[in-house]
């Protein structure tokens, strides 16, 4: 086996085994800190040894055994495991989870612990990417544009809270499960969105590393909770957005809106997988949640060969369904965009203007108004709205696109 093959084997093992190794260590030693460090050391040992010794026949088992030894070494080295510390051990609930269709996988406990509602959202995101995703602290810091030391502190603080407040290491009860799963999905969607519409003037407009990681983790959750409709919905939604990645930004770094995208550049495999998931959820015949509806809307868009073939009445009907679940002004704004195609820009503008109080500081509100005003031939008002949208937008590609549209008025 040559160097490149060993390197590939290590990368693959990291991708496939990291979360399992951390989770197994967390169960065994009742401490996330020890689990994380032991897993990191096991992978470092693999990098050192596999090129000389060869890749073991079962890399996962090798890594788990090695991590276990590293953890015991550390505990012996510190040898300060007095009663107090034992007491502070993370609580491990030995009861098998109730039969929810969920696999009793250690990784699931890890995910629910990292996404616990008592942790701040930014801590949940960081902890999930570190413990479940296996990203380094430096990588996570880069992804969210903070100093590595600050990100390290955030993760350390979160681990200290888990330990000090005794956030349990378990799959939530059936009663709490839907809310807790939805908390996990919110974390994954946030990671995805940060990749999909990255903020900051120095970053790439689309951060493929983040969207890919979010999709990978959502696939993992789906494998662990296969019967949850919202998990399937979120995965479908991400896939259908990711499928359009190559067509979304022009070579000059400008965001291309859906109607102007080269649909031949969409990733047909991802579109097909997204559509398959949406059909699976439709066939299930259960009332869809937010992500499933959003996925269905994206399925309608990606089913049209040309933007003009879009079934807008279907899109508006889905938004109506979404408004009933989530009456937020942002959903109402997106619905208005679809209404413009179905009932014309004047009707849509009236709906958008009703949101003025709530969305005055939201760039998409002004961008939407600007487009509608332009279509209605009200150039001056349109220009003012574009100006405001450009002021508020954080994504470089989006700013470029808004600027072009304004300058073409």
């Amino acid at each position: 086996m040559n160097v490149a093959d060993v390197q590939e084997a290590i990368t693959q093992a990291h991708r496939e085994e990291w979360a399992r190794v951390v989770a197994t260590m967390a169960k065994r030693f009742g401490d996330l800190d020890i689990a994380e460090e032991a897993a990191a050391e096991a992978f470092a040992t693999a990098v050192e040894r596999w090129p000389a010794d060869g890749v073991p026949p079962n890399p996962g088992a090798w890594l788990t055994t090695t991590a276990g030894r590293k953890a015991i070494d550390r505990i012996r080295r510190e040898s300060r495991r007095d009663d107090k510390q034992k007491e502070a051990q993370m609580l491990y609930d030995d009861d098998p989870p109730e039969p929810l269709g969920a696999i009793d996988d250690e990784r699931l406990r890890l995910v629910f612990t990292c996404c616990h509602p008592a942790l701040a959202m930014e801590s949940r995101v960081a902890l999930t990417l570190r413990m479940v995703g296996g990203l380094t602290v430096a990588e996570i810091a880069r992804a969210f544009l903070v100093q590595e030391s600050a990100m390290g502190q955030r993760i350390t603080r979160a681990k200290a809270k888990i330990k000090g407040a005794r956030i349990p290491y378990r799959v939530p009860s059936a009663e709490d499960l839907p809310a807790r799963v939805s908390g996990v999905l919110a974390v994954l969607f946030l990671v995805f969105n940060e990749g999909y519409l990255a903020t900051g003037s120095d970053t790439d407009p689309v951060r493929h590393d983040l969207t890919a990681e979010a999709i990978r983790l959502t696939r993992l959750i789906r494998a662990l909770i296969p019967r949850d409709g919202e998990v399937a919905g979120l995965l479908a939604l991400m896939l259908l957005i990711e499928a359009r990645r190559a067509a979304r930004v022009s070579p000059s770094g400008e965001l291309i809106t859906l109607d102007e995208q080269d649909r031949a550049a969409w990733d047909a495999t991802l579109v097909a997988e997204g559509h398959r998931l949406v059909r699976e959820r439709l066939a299930a015949g259960e009332a869809p949640g937010r992500y499933q509806i959003l996925a269905a809307i994206n399925a309608v868009h990606t089913s049209a060969r040309d933007a003009r073939d879009t079934d807008w009445s279907q899109v508006v009907a889905l938004y109506d369904q979404l408004v009933r679940l989530d009456p937020s002004p942002i959903v109402a704004l997106n619905r208005a965009v679809a209404v413009a195609e179905l009932d014309g820009p004047e009707v849509a503008l009236a709906a958008v203007d009703r949101l003025a109080d709530k969305l005055a500081d939201y760039h998409a509100y002004h961008a939407t108004r600007a487009d509608l005003l332009r279509r209605l031939g009200r150039g001056e008002q349109s220009r003012a709205a574009y100006d405001r949208a450009i002021e508020l937008a954080g994504n470089t590609a989006e700013i470029a696109s808004l600027t072009r549209r304004r300058d073409h008025l």
Binding site: H116, A165, R166
Partner: protein, 107 residues
């Protein structure tokens, strides 16, 4: 494991009769379920005295150690196996007393 659940308020002894009924019912249940350690309401911060005897010469200062609009108006101490249980109890407590509460684990 014990958790302190602090009740946040900007008034003292301000529970309405309905709230008192709900609090008593909640307390009875907490006792029956074995989570009860202690609970109490506190008089207003204006009745507090700060004592500094670090130098061996006790200094008394009228008032709370920090003036805030909202303050600790009362608290529960619960026995609970983990934070999930403590959060559930705290959520029910918040509903019963109709105030915001804060949960903190003991060391």
């Amino acid at each position: 494991m014990q958790y302190m659940v602090s009740v946040v308020d900007d008034k003292t002894n301000s529970a309405t009769p309905d709230e008192m009924t709900a609090i008593n019912a909640f307390n009875d249940r907490v006792k029956a379920e074995g989570h009860w350690v202690f609970a109490g309401g506190l008089n207003s911060p204006a009745t507090a005295t700060v004592i500094d005897n670090r130098g061996g010469d006790a200094l008394f200062t009228d008032g709370p150690f920090v003036e805030t609009k909202e303050y600790l108006a009362g608290f529960w101490v619960f026995e609970a196996p983990d934070l999930d249980v403590a959060l559930k109890l705290a959520a029910e407590g918040s509903k019963a007393c109709n105030r915001r509460v804060e949960v903190r684990p003991f060391l």
